[in-house]
């Protein structure tokens, strides 16, 4: 009774605790999803590197043979 603010503050604190709990859960879910995506993208990353290497080697070969034509 003497400290009405304390009750209000305790109320707010409890809500804060609940919010933090939910936030933690959602962040953990987000982390899990991101980990899944990252795992699936590793192969794609390798593929991209392979394609880039292929492109570089074709460019080099064309330049070496002198058969590279200018861009249209």
């Amino acid at each position: 009774m003497e400290n009405p603010y304390e009750q209000v503050q305790l109320n707010i604190l409890s809500r804060i605790i609940g919010n933090i709990d939910r936030l933690n859960q959602s962040v953990a879910t987000l982390n899990q999803e991101l980990e899944n995506v990252n795992r699936r993208n590793r192969n794609l990353e390798i593929m991209g590197q392979i394609c880039e290497n292929y492109h570089n080697s074709t460019q080099f070969n064309l330049k070496a043979t002198g058969s590279q034509k200018p861009p249209l």
């Binding site: 603010y5 503050q9 879910t29 999803e33 993208n41 794609l44 390798i46 290497n53 074709t58 070969n61």
Partner: protein, 223 residues
């Protein structure tokens, strides 16, 4: 006495003010946390899931590329002669036609994929783009690991094929060596290629390589 009362009142006022400020700060904290939580749950996670599905689709579409490149590097298949009407050669090792390039022997390490791909692609592209002016100087280099007469013949055939290809294409840098094991799969695959800027090859004869289950490409399009 009065001053003490006044002092006491002032203190109480400040306490009240502080209490209110405390409550206000707590409330802002709570509201910020709530906002963060709702933002993450409602916007970010669905975004990420959509991104994941799209990436999966991309991977599905690109998986054939992966198998093709893998076979270029790892498997004992020559990818040259898939689209060319060549003699049914089935060279065991992907050989390079470029002098000075390390001849690609069959290695099965996944890490060497890129390196093998490099040379193997050089094989492919070099095979395609190599001018007929290749002298026999390459043969000792290529035949370093093998030193077989059959490889010489194969290389000569490859050069002839590259000549033919060059005549057909002019210069097509987009031609990719296609891993082909069966004619049907190749023709179907070519139907798929037609949708890309790659040039269509009229010759349907393909050298049948050692059929491996991984090399069979099933496409529903028929050319």
């Amino acid at each position: 006495m009065n001053s003490q009362l006044i002092h006491h009142q002032m203190l109480e006022e400040t306490v009240e003010k502080l209490d209110q400020e405390i409550t206000l700060s707590l409330q802002t904290i709570d509201s910020n946390l709530n906002y963060c939580f709702s933002k993450i749950t409602k916007d970010i996670i669905p975004h990420v899931t959509r991104y994941g599905t799209v990436c999966e689709e991309v991977m599905d579409h690109a998986s054939w590329l992966g198998t093709m490149f893998q076979q270029t590097g790892n498997v004992d298949l020559s990818l040259q002669g898939g689209e060319r009407a060549t003699d049914g050669r089935s060279s065991v090792t992907p050989e390079t036609l470029f002098p000075g390039q390390p001849s690609v022997t069959t290695t099965t390490t996944a890490n060497d994929e890129d390196d093998e791909f490099h040379t193997a692609n050089l094989t492919n592209t070099g095979h395609i783009l190599r001018l007929p002016s290749d002298s026999s100087d390459e043969e000792p280099v290529k035949n370093g690991p093998e030193a077989d007469g059959s490889t010489l013949q194969r290389q000569r055939r490859k050069r002839k094929v590259s000549l033919l290809l060059q005549q057909e294409y002019g210069s097509s840098s987009s031609v990719i060596g296609v891993p082909q094991s069966k004619d049907s799969s190749t023709s179907e695959y070519r139907g798929l290629i037609d949708s890309s800027p790659m040039k269509h090859i009229p010759n349907d004869d393909e050298s049948t390589k050692e059929p491996k289950p991984g090399t069979v490409i099933h496409f529903s399009t028929g050319s």
